[in-house]
Each structure stands twice: as structure tokens, then as C-alpha cells.
Symmetry: C2
Subunit: 317 residues, 2 copies
Amino acid sequence: MSTKKVLVTGGAGFIGSNLVDALLASNHRVRVVDNFSTGKREFLSHHISNSSLEVLKADLSDEGICKNAVAGCDAVFHLAANADVRHGWDHPLFDIQQNTVVTQSLLEACRLTGIRKFVFSSTGSVYGDAKQIPTTEECPFPIQTSLYAASKLAAEGLIGAYSEAGVIDATIFRFVSILGPRYTHGHVYDFVKQLLADPTKLFVLGDGTQTKSYLHINDCVAALVQSLGWNNPLGILNLGTTEVVQVRESIALITQALKCSPEIQYSGGNQGWVGDNPYILLATDQIRSTGWSTSATIASSIVDTVNWLTENRWVFN
Amino acid sequence: MSTKKVLVTGGAGFIGSNLVDALLASNHRVRVVDNFSTGKREFLSHHISNSSLEVLKADLSDEGICKNAVAGCDAVFHLAANADVRHGWDHPLFDIQQNTVVTQSLLEACRLTGIRKFVFSSTGSVYGDAKQIPTTEECPFPIQTSLYAASKLAAEGLIGAYSEAGVIDATIFRFVSILGPRYTHGHVYDFVKQLLADPTKLFVLGDGTQTKSYLHINDCVAALVQSLGWNNPLGILNLGTTEVVQVRESIALITQALKCSPEIQYSGGNQGWVGDNPYILLATDQIRSTGWSTSATIASSIVDTVNWLTENRWVFN
């Protein structure tokens, strides 16, 4: 694959900064645009003397900034998003602005400048409470259960319309939750944060039976980088493992890694919060047919995450 | 059914004003909010002395106006939209603003004021080029083929999220194209306009084989009014006929009604425009199970439309 100039929106975030590492390692040139609302300078600071990386602090809500952001790039990885699934109802208009309207502004910028390659990070949450598990990309049309997922599905629809109109070559990845270094939100983060503050107690949302699939960031990023070389857009692809883990099992792995035995208090109910999907497992035959496969297990991903968080306690501040 | 105070957004439009007629005829009180960008005063002027109708000229892009619009209402029919499917690419950011962001502002207004009943006019276009015909509500998850449909699907997702969170009781109708009095855009309108100007020639987008289903406005409005009495929200419902018509057959009915024999020039291809779906037929078993049925045929709907347009040529100005 020839080297490319690649825009990574949200490139200072968890997934974004890991993608930047991988792209630079493959000799691509990278432009990061991030508003640093959740992204962190520290996640990119090891590249400070690398002239192949350009970092712009800017908010993509501005259409002009979108045009500047894509200018001169061969491909766009659009990862910037409000990824706070849980607290959507605290600021209900935020998801649609940050995740949907910004996506279209970026699509417009691509249309106006002729940039065709567009890779989007969507979410397995768009399947809502899927009737079909493992859930295939062709699963019956779901009811959205969170504003986050609704805003991502809306963005997918727009990307589909631009793609069908021949404007872009798009790949949409529907991610399960991702774990690994620089992971800074979600239940493993919450649990480790609680246990580092007080290893004797752990408060858990739900009853611990929520069953989820997690993917290691290295496996996630490998799929994203690989997609840059695809000549034909592959459309919509689930990205996850074939494994699942219950929250209770996840807690056991975390407490073992942290060498503590907290008293666990469950809030009850099979949902962690309004809109939480109690069982997520995506069918990944399509992405596997491209040759991609996972190298990490969920257990090793959890332990890797706990270790990174323990060594990087500054992220809790 | 007890009488209610009902907000009809887009109430001066084709479907909206017919709905207003039907709601007033059933003794409901109605508030219309319309920005009159495509809505017409003439469609409501026969109610000028009816104190049960309140008409506000306002744009729902303003969140404050959304709150004022829903205040004191028992139910919201959200019909306001940019319904210009064909020209989405002339103003790509318009659909998402008018159809998606406005919908969420209205949902927020309902949430903040405790209004639960929310009825939404979506579109069969969300199925894109459906593989399954007749297309059921549970059809596999489609790729969007127009910005209009993408923006409507996005709005559906948001409504689903508000509904699943227990904020509202929502009914989403996915309409086929609607015909009848006050119909002011679409192929019948275009053809009648051309033929009234010059009955010897007719220019047709596509090859005339596009196959669509059409519903008479009276049958459409009957379903909407009926939904007001449903105690349990029925979720997502297709609304259409079991019949289809090819553009060529439609032309035959129009020219017969207008008593002309134009020379017909086809632009070619099986799509009328980028994103046009060449075959639309929705499965309507769900709505029929509520007791609703159609009273008009497609042929009679077309003739009724042609006659209304002929008698109301002012709409072409």
C-alpha cells in the first residue's frame, strides 16, 4: 500500500491516538483534528518531533474548519464524536450536533474537495436490543435505544446517501466496546477508578449480568489501517470478537489484576442505565473474510487495560 | 375519542392541511405551526372564522419556538419537513437541519413540557432499494439512497430513543407518495404542469418503468386521525396501498384525464434522479390490522389529483 496523507478526526482520543500510532508506523502522513474536549495531548506527545504528524486543535462544528481539515488529504478517518453513551439525556441535543451534523459537514467538505475515501467509526449500539445474536450487519431494522446510537445511525444514513450518490467510497465500522491503553471511559475505567480510590468497595450499575463483547484497541486499529488499502469500499462492517463477558466476570478479572476483594454492591436491573443494551455480540464474518482476525482475548484486553490505567493514574484527574 | 388540542407542524402543507380539515371535522382543537416555505395560506383559509384553529407562522429551527408550539397541546403531529427528495444535493445540509435537528428540538420540547403523544410522518424511502418487496417494517437494515431519507431515518432513530427512554408514546408512519387535493410536488404535479402549458409534449425523467405505490390523501389522513385514539403506541407502521403503478401507466391516466396525446420524451435509465428508488411497494399488514383500509384506488387518486390541479392552476405559480 502506498503511503497516504490521512485526516484523523478525534485523533487525540483513545481510538484516534492509537490509530495515529499505527498510521505513522506504516509511514503514512497524518493530520489530527481534535477539539480536545476528551482527547488528550499526552496521547500524541511521543510524536512531538515527528514531521509526518500535524495536530490541529479545532472544532468540526464549523463548516469552514471541516474544509480546512480535509484539504490535501487522501483519506478521512472520522472518529471524532461525543462517545458518552450513558449521559445522553443530560444534554439531549449534543449527540446529534457532534455526531450527525459534524459528520455531514465533513462529508460536504469531502464532496467539495473531491476526497473519496471515508472511514467512519459507528457502533454496535445501533442494533439496539437486537433480536438476533450474534447480530449481523443485515439484522432487521432496529429501534434506537440511546441518543448516541441514534446519532451514529443518522450519520451512517448520511454516509450511505453520499456513497450511493457516488460522492465517496465509504467504510462504516460498527464497533463493540474497545479496551486497551488510553481507554478512558466505560465500565472498566469506572471500576478501576473506584478500586484505586477504595479497594474495599465496588458499586456496580445493573445486576452484573449485562453481557458484552470487547475488542482490544490493537485489533481495532489493525482493521482500520487495513481498510485504507481496500480498493472497493466494503460498506458496513461489524468489528468485534467472537467472545463475550458478563460484567461479573469482568469484575473478577479486574479485582484479580488489582489484587483486591471489594464488597460489591449492585444497583439491580439488567440495564446499567437507560438505553444500555444488556447483550451485545456482533457477527464478524464479513470483516474476517478480509483476512482480519483478533489477536487478543477479552480477558487479556481487560488485564491490559487495568495495567495501563494503574500505570497512568493521571487520566483519572 | 375525547377531543384534544393537537399541534400540527407543517399544517399548511399538502398532508398537514388535509389533516387539519379532518381533525377539525372530528371536533379537535388544532394549532398549526408552519414557516410557509412550501405551505400555503390558501389551504387553511376556509377555516378563517373557526376559533378551534390557531395558525402560527414560525420556523421550528428555533428551540424556543418549539417549546411555544407544543405548550398546552395533548398531541403532536410532526409533519413539517423539507420534502424535496429530488433536489437534496442542491442544498445538502438542509435536510438534516430541517428534518432531523428540528425533530429533536420538538422532541425536547415535548420532554420538557411532558407531552407524550408524538406522531411522525416518515417515508418509505428509508428502505432505499429494498430487497424485499412488498417491504415490511422489519426489512433488513438498508443503505440510504437520498439525503431526504437519511434525514428522516435519523429523525426516526431519535424518536425511537425518546420512546425507549419512556419520554414519549410515538407512532412513526412510513408513507408511500400521497396524492389528492393540494398535492403540490412530485411527478403527477410535474406532468400536469407541463401538459397544461403545452399538451403536445411531455418530458419524463427515467424510462417510465419506475414502479411506485400511491395513497390517496383521505386514506392517509384517516390513519393519522385514527392513531390519535390509540392508547398504546404502535411503533413504526408502513402506510400505503397494495397496488402499484408504473410511471408509463400514470402518464396514460393523466393524459386521458387532460384529454391530450403528447409526444413523450424519456430521459432514460430506471431512476428518475440520483437516489430515486425504482420500485416502492410497502407491506401494510400492520396498519390494516388496526382496522384501517384504503377507499381509493391509485387510478382514482391520480385522476382526482389531475382534476384538482386543473381547477387550482394558481398552485403552479
